[in-house]
């Protein structure tokens, strides 16, 4: 009872903050929107309470994260079909600056932006949904608050892999060579250099697997057909099949250049994951469970995770000896709840605000589908 009360009291600020941010200061009158708001609010806060009450992070984070990604796809695709009539992006859409800006392209834009003061992306700087400046502000805020925790708590693509990686109880493919986890950094280097000389977002054009579930260039030439085949194959392989077989987030671990770039923001972030060497019994469960290969023997010896850690909390939940914990940089290693709470608040808040809008929109569209037969 005492514990339940304590968890509820610790959840109170989140109840208030999510109420403020999800409503935006006004309660919708339309029944479907009101229902969506209430459902989303209850959904998020129930899971936050459980996170605090049960002391487990990843189990509840994953449910929200997967729901977020599915809702994002439903909402985004429906919005595109409403606005354009299809998911396909035409060159005219690009000329008119109608392409929503995605965070993955940020690393590729930096060198050209520094040298030419232009953004190599066919979007709009301000004034539209997912404008370039708006997404840059979101990215800066996420980097300062979460570091690479963005990938574990805010990325609207990551939940798809996270979901597929949990379908099987045990991995069918094990023993993946750890050096493959450096591949995203190589992809980052290559796409940044090529984007700089070609002044076009290389990764978006040639590799991004998530065009499968968002938008893609209309196939009007052999080159675009090849690009389409590549991204479809990468989606099938790295987002669906390999996560199921390995129980890891393989697209994030082996390809995503944004994730590699975001790893460096872990250096300037307030939080990290620490491993208490006195408690660690070297069972290796954390290494096997980490979705992004961010724990290995060397990092355990140092008492921390690798730079690619997305602070999802899976290792914290998995460790049978409680040797792994969230930690605030500059402070002593603590087994108390304070460091975890201090991380969970900004991380959960960020996720609930980003995801809340998408989930509400998806619920409204599902209600519309059930009642009218169409999501649009």
């Amino acid at each position: 009872m005492k514990r339940t009360l304590r968890s509820f009291l610790l959840s109170l600020p989140m109840l208030l903050l999510t109420a403020l941010m999800l409503t935006g200061g006004s309660i919708p009158r339309e029944p479907s929107r009101l229902a969506a708001l209430i459902l989303t609010y209850l959904f998020f806060n129930t899971f936050f309470f459980l996170m605090l009450h049960k002391g487990r992070t990843d189990r509840y984070r994953a449910v929200l994260f997967v729901t977020y990604s599915v809702a994002f796809v439903i909402a985004f695709v429906s919005h595109l079909v409403e606005a354009r009539g299809s998911m396909a992006l035409t060159e005219a859409n690009m000329i008119e600056g109608e392409t929503p800006f995605c965070h993955v392209v940020i690393p590729m834009t930096l060198i050209p932006a520094a040298l030419t003061k232009t953004i190599i992306f066919p979007g709009s700087i301000t004034g539209t949904h997912a404008s370039i400046a708006g997404m840059f502000v979101l990215w800066i805020g996420a980097s300062l608050a979460l570091g690479r925790g963005f990938c574990g708590w805010a990325c609207f693509f990551g939940g798809l892999e996270d979901g597929f990686s949990r379908l099987l109880k045990k991995p069918l493919i094990k023993g993946i060579r750890p050096s493959w986890s450096y591949l995203p950094y190589a992809v980052l280097l290559a796409v940044v250099l090529i984007a700089a000389i070609s002044l076009s977002p290389t990764y978006c054009m040639w590799l991004c697997p998530f065009k499968t579930v968002t938008e893609y260039v209309q196939v009007t030439s052999v080159k675009i057909a090849i690009q389409t085949a590549i991204f479809l194959s990468l989606f099938l392989g790295l987002v669906i099949v390999l996560p199921i077989l390995t129980r890891r987030r393989t697209q994030c671990s082996f390809l995503c250049p944004f994730g590699a770039f975001q790893s460096f923001t872990n250096k300037v972030n307030a939080f990290d994951i620490r491993i208490d060497p006195d408690r660690c019994v070297k069972c290796g469960l954390c290494t096997k469970s980490c979705p992004t290969f961010s724990i290995d023997e060397a990092s355990i010896k140092k008492g921390t995770t690798r730079l690619s850690c997305m602070k999802c909390g899976k290792c914290v939940d998995t460790c049978p000896k409680g040797a792994i914990a969230y930690h605030v940089k500059g402070t002593q290693l603590s087994r108390g709840i304070l460091p975890r709470m201090l991380f969970l608040y900004p991380a959960f808040l960020f996720m609930s605000i980003m995801a809340g809008r998408q989930i509400q929109d998806a619920i409204v569209r599902i209600i519309r589908l059930v009642t009218t037969g169409s999501m649009i």
């Binding site: 000329i95 003061k117 502000v137 805020g141 300062l144 608050a145 939080f271 605030v328």
Partner: protein, 152 residues
Amino acid sequence: MKKLLSVLGYGWAVITIFIVLATFIGNNYFSKKFAGATGVTVSPWFSGGEVTLVVEHGAYRVSVHRPVFDGLTGERSEGFVQIDWKPAGGLPRVVTESITLPDGERVLVRLDTATGIAEATSESAGVLGVERAYKLRDGWAVRVLLRRLRSS
């Protein structure tokens, strides 16, 4: 020293909550400040570049953009010039426009708005032809491919 680091660490951790709130509550404000402070624009290879000339033709107007040769640190040898015709409702079946490039060469651009076929004719060897005609939401855009003939 340890105490100071602890205080700073916890302080920084608490501030992250306010950073998250500010990121979302102030997104519009910060976006405009960011855009204004950096002065960035969309790359002309996508946007077509700034409009340098507008010609009114009664029911429609023609906007001629500047020639785009922008490279990473200099200019490329090949580029394009974009011409827009708007609004779609005011356009006749065939539109033609004669434009003068900065080097003095003239290009005649002809667009069939029913088929979307465009052609560019010029005596200059620097005009390579039409890249494509694009059907916009409320009009048409044509990009004419160009090559630089003189050194910068």
